[in-house]
């Protein structure tokens, strides 16, 4: 095949898969722009664009509450996980101490233990302490699980920092704590940003833990709220479409803005079980 023919074929293949990825998404967005509870069959652009259904989902179907819960939980999980991962990654990446290998590999187990294997006793244990049906029940376990990947990720960064930088800071009399925040971390901003993006996506999209832990409507996260919405309005596809768009939008928006960091992170993030 000629060179240009090959190029054309490649474009055709890529184009076809791009379409396959896009059509369902565009379809659901246009579906959501119909009037609430309208019956729509097949792919069809709405006669006139209406944002009424979004308003309905946001107010009457309580998606504002669900999003608020998701924002609170995601913010707490991302902040705490990032902070603790930086500390642990710093120690594992730059310091030598007894038991470091064993402790590090123990922590890595978190990357392959499926959450399904933890969630059952977790529910009964947290219930004993009266912690179920609260933000804590969503925040603490997710921080515990995600510090595995976070530490793995930050350790890799700290190991890539030239040793001389650390030694120079030490000779200047900087304490390890100061060395970390003033010397090592500023150039590591891209690594930290990518980590936060991944954590944000995982936390925002998490479903099983929320399903098990949360009973009250006020604590429902966005995916959990959407799942209940499906239960209540099983065939009201227009309203469901609006709900799905609302739930997916925050992560998609962040992804589109920062896609370069996102995709780079996914290479390593993909290794997480």
């Amino acid at each position: 095949m000629s060179r240009s023919g090959e190029k054309l074929l490649t474009y055709a293949i890529l184009g076809a898969f791009s379409l396959a990825a896009l059509v369902p998404i565009v379809g659901v967005i246009s579906l959501a722009m119909n009037e609430p509870r309208e019956l729509v069959s097949g792919f069809a652009l709405p006669d006139r664009i209406s944002l009424e259904t979004f308003r309905y989902a946001w107010e009457a179907a309580n998606f504002s509450t669900y999003l608020q819960s998701s924002v609170i939980v995601s913010f707490a999980v991302v902040a705490a996980t990032t902070f603790f991962s930086i500390l642990a990654g710093y120690a594992f990446g730059t310091m030598r101490f007894r038991g470091s290998t064993v402790l590090f590999y123990t922590l890595l187990l978190g990357m392959i233990i499926p959450f399904e294997a933890v969630v059952v006793p977790l529910y009964y244990d947290l219930r004993t302490f009266g912690l179920t049906d609260s933000y804590w029940a969503l925040i603490l376990p997710q921080v515990g699980l995600n510090v595995s990947f976070g530490t793995f990720w930050m350790r890799a960064y700290f190991r890539s920092v030239p040793r001389t930088l650390i030694d120079a800071a030490h000779i200047d009399g900087a304490s390890p704590w100061r060395t970390l925040w003033r010397v090592l971390l500023p150039p590591g901003r891209p690594a930290v940003v990518t980590l936060m993006l991944l954590l944000f996506m995982w936390t925002w999209n998490e479903f099983l833990l929320a399903l098990v832990m949360i009973q009250s409507e006020e604590f429902r996260t966005a995916p959990l709220g959407l799942a209940f919405f499906v239960g209540n309005r099983s065939t009201d596809y227009v309203s469901l479409a609006a709900g799905a768009v609302i739930v997916a939008l925050p992560v998609v928006a962040v992804y589109l803005i920062l896609q370069r960091d996102f995709i780079r992170g996914m290479f390593t993030g993909a290794l997480r079980g």
């Binding site: 978190g110 200047d172 065939t235 739930v247 997916a248 992560v251």
Partner: protein, 315 residues
């Protein structure tokens, strides 16, 4: 702490004016303790909220417990049940079917795209990559909502079939004993294809261009080039994508929960769904925990096994 014991640094003394830090005994003890203080919060949270519950899962798997009253020790009974319980067996068999859709399809497609791109790098790759990757970042529950609609009785899928005159092929896809599982498998393929493709493209960039030049000088065609240069070069990525997609199939829960709850009958039942139902709906916590332990072991074996295999072949 390591800094104290390290050999003198390569930095010239001029850099720091050699302001030596002299330490008293308690200060040195504190320095030796420092690494543990840094890792303590992460390790503690991990131990309390992941490791301990996992150990508890193993412990509970030896009991018959309804979650309310006192449980009774049954030894390995919950495990032997796994081999006789047809619903559990069905759920693991369904995983195998899902593996075909979410592992085989995305990997083959990813390889095809990678192979075509290997010969002719393109303009506009970033845009394609961004779009094809998009399904991966959408909440699975939202993805399930989208596809429930696509598969609906008068949804777009059946509409297209009717338009092209294939009325007899229309189904209530998710309510059909034969079609529900493949339908869910296709959703998985839709989610994971982008991820696999992006991983393959990244792997492709690691293959030295000189290998392709050499192959071309030897007069290799597209197909021979694929088998002698591209495929061997992508072996590591192949291991990663296989692990990833197989583990995804093993752990599938969100999609099934929203789309079918395992039905109709048990035709889309998966282990995660069984764990959830037994632990929180039918009061068989011990049995749920036994399934969870088996699932964890399989995930572990798959992850370690595939990567061992890839490493051994590399030598």
């Amino acid at each position: 702490m390591s800094l104290a014991t390290d050999p003198p640094s390569a930095v010239s003394p001029a850099a720091g004016g050699a302001r030596r830090v002299t330490r008293s005994r308690p200060a040195r003890a504190r320095a030796a303790l420092a690494p543990y203080l840094y890792i303590a919060p992460a390790l503690l949270l991990f131990a309390v909220f992941v490791l301990a519950p996992f150990a508890h899962t193993i412990w509970l798997s030896f009991f018959d417990w309804d979650g309310v009253t006192l449980g009774s020790w049954v030894g390995l009974e919950n495990y032997s049940d796994i081999f006789s319980d047809s619903v559990i067996q069905r759920s693991f068999l369904n995983v195998l079917v899902l593996v075909f859709f979410v592992a085989v399809i995305p990997i083959v497609v990813g390889l095809v795209i990678a192979a075509t791109l290997a010969r002719s790098p393109l303009r506009g790759m970033t845009a394609f990559r961004t779009i094809i990757f998009l399904p991966q970042v959408i909440s699975t529950v939202a993805v399930a909502v989208i596809w429930r609609w696509l598969y609906a009785e008068d949804g777009p899928f059946n509409e297209v079939l009717r338009t092209i005159g294939l009325d007899s092929f229309t189904h209530a896809w998710l309510g059909d004993y034969t079609w529900a599982l493949p339908a869910i498998g296709m959703v998985g393929a839709w989610i994971l294809t982008g991820l696999c493709m992006v991983l393959f493209l990244a792997g492709l960039q690691q293959i030295p261009g000189s290998l392709y030049d050499a192959a071309r000088v030897d007069g290799a065609g597209a197909i021979r080039e694929f088998f002698t240069v591209t495929l061997p070069g992508l072996r590591g990525v192949l291991a990663v994508t296989t692990t990833l997609t197989v583990v995804w199939a093993l752990r599938s829960f969100d999609l099934v929960f929203v789309m079918t709850r395992g039905g109709p009958g048990t035709s889309t039942m998966v282990p995660g769904m069984q764990i959830y139902q037994r632990a929180f709906q039918t009061g068989r916590v011990g049995s749920a925990c036994a399934i969870a332990v088996v699932l964890a072991i399989i995930v572990f074996v798959v992850t370690v096994g595939i990567n061992r295999f890839a490493e051994r072949d590399q030598r």
